[in-house]
Subunit: 188 residues, 2 copies
DNA sequence: GGCGAGTGTTCCATAAACGGAACGCTATCG
DNA sequence: CGATAGCGTTCCGTTTATGGAACACTCGCC
């Protein structure tokens, strides 16, 4: 899903076309869907033709009536699982999921570390902890000066409020899951 | 207007919370993110506090700057995202990824354990190891007779070649990631 | 042919989302 | 100390998304 770009006219037309296709697939008219979703016909018409910039409320109402996840309206059929990649010198990371729960927010990444390169990450805010579980390969990670060697089938964690590094030992790239846990500061 | 769709005040607050969490994890201020995304500070502030009903354009701009798919801002984990799910008496699991690599097959699941119920899994073939990282709640897992308590922000692993159990301690459900590693050829 | 019920689009007043400029606040500095 | 810079929130005029109504059009029916 290449949604990193801005909300362009093409994105609007593509989203509108997907809505129209799903509606046609269900054999219901524009007026009918608008009535069921509780939005104006003008709104739905403009949305399907790509001449509007809908609000979250409108999108939710329509996706709900079509019975599809919102991601299906907004993403290209190319790959709902292909999430954007964050690339560093040695590390390529894909965000698998992220949520907050209680006073803690969590991000789960899939990680691949290329061999032969060392990547240093700057310090995160205090209280951030990273958890690494290695699928294959051997990783050397952790805070600068306190390296931890993690082999396939092992896991490790470290406070990431200081600079820390990622590297793959040996020739084989490292595949792992990285979980970043971050306590939220109290919100007024 | 009436809450005719899933976009309620709670959804707005939840979405805002996810944005705020992702922003905090990246260590950038509200002003900074607003400037990078090209939206007004008032817009972002109202969005994070759940007092606005953002447009697709605004959401795209912010998701793009955070480097996450838009669906991750809008959808609840375990919600409308259509990922194959495996349900047991106490455990609901969704496969996040799976691959084989060097004679070892690895599967990464998102796990939710409901409180008040104990689930027992039969023994897997020899050599299978499970790794659990808990996001929130407190889990009691592991081989029968050797229970391990894993609190939020901890991880544990156990050989699963004997029957093993999953349970949530306390009232809160447990969210965690479970990694199952099994060699393609029997070990030992 | 006329007629009614349906379609999707366009017009328009209203409601609300937008961004800029204030605000109060907390740190940090000279 | 006061000055400055940053933070997140609130105020406010402008922009724009919204839904109802009117529109032109296509059917099925008598």
């Amino acid at each position: 899903m290449e949604n990193s770009g801005p909300w362009s006219a093409e994105a609007a037309v593509a989203t509108g076309g997907r809505i129209r296709a799903l509606r046609a697939q269900r054999g219901i008219s524009l007026s009918e869907l608008a009535r069921r979703a509780g939005v104006g016909k003008a709104t739905l018409s403009g949305l399907e033709t790509g001449t509007r910039n809908p609000t979250a409320e409108t999108l939710y109402a329509i996706a709900g009536q079509l019975g599809v996840p919102l991601a299906m309206l907004l993403s290209t059929p190319g790959g709902p699982l292909s999430v954007p990649e964050v690339r560093g010198t040695a590390v390529a990371a894909q965000l698998l999921e992220a949520f907050q729960d209680g006073g803690v927010s969590t991000e789960l990444y899939r990680l691949e570390i290329r061999p032969g390169v060392l990547q240093t990450s700057p310090a995160h805010p205090a209280g951030v902890v990273e958890y690494l579980t290695v699928f294959s390969g051997t990783a050397q990670v952790g805070r600068v000066g306190e390296p931890i060697v993690v082999r396939a089938g092992e896991h490790a964690s470290w406070d990431s409020d200081t600079p820390h590094t990622y590297a793959a030992l040996g020739d084989e790239p490292v595949r792992a899951s990285l979980l970043i846990r971050h306590p939220l500061e109290p919100v007024g």
